[in-house]
Subunit: 104 residues, 2 copies
Amino acid sequence: MNTAKRDIFQAVADPTRRAILTLLALQVMTPNALAEHFNMSRQAVSKHIGVLAQAHAVKLEYRGREIHYHINAKKMQEIDQWMATFRNLWDDKFGQLDEVLKDI
Amino acid sequence: MNTAKRDIFQAVADPTRRAILTLLALQVMTPNALAEHFNMSRQAVSKHIGVLAQAHAVKLEYRGREIHYHINAKKMQEIDQWMATFRNLWDDKFGQLDEVLKDI
DNA sequence: TATAAACGCAACCATTTGGTTGCGCAAATT
DNA sequence: AATTTGCGCAACCAAATGGTTGCGTTTATA
């Protein structure tokens, strides 16, 4: 079990890992099932899953020799919380744009 | 002017760049003004700004020898759009948790 | 005109990343 | 019991990253 801390933002920085998270948002999956969706070695996918696990973006459920990976929605929420800083900006800035366009 | 494409998720993967974006959400700033907030060389901060520019997370406004960096809220919205996949999950999963706790 | 300030380019370096292949162990299947 | 399956560990490699220092060009100031 790896206990190294990993940043959730670093975890989602890679497109492969984002795709993994998107798949897990739909259903619980095993490493081999996930690997079938990518054109890279099973080990490469396993490495990405490892990064997601370190960031606590996924939760593991061991069933014999199989591991079922679940999305950890709570962890994903940290991204949403950071985004709060900008949310009011695009609302406001789009409002400003509308204002400018109205004057043309 | 760099035109290399850069992923917005890769841009925010680094804590220094997230801090830069948070500062720019508050006010327009120049590279030197931004550099004052960090314990690293001015050039290191400039490099980070370069990554953000490549990802179109910031917009540049040249004023003589100074560059004023603005947040590009529209680009930040891409992160929010990807997050939509998970938003209903934590609402739903928290709801399930409430359901379980209610039975205790 | 001389000097200072703003700030990116380039080279360098250590570390990290993202992929591959080979291997080994435990669980499941035959 | 033998074989297969699931899947992580380790080593390797090329590329990318994140920091530093030195330098040069353009703009602003004295």
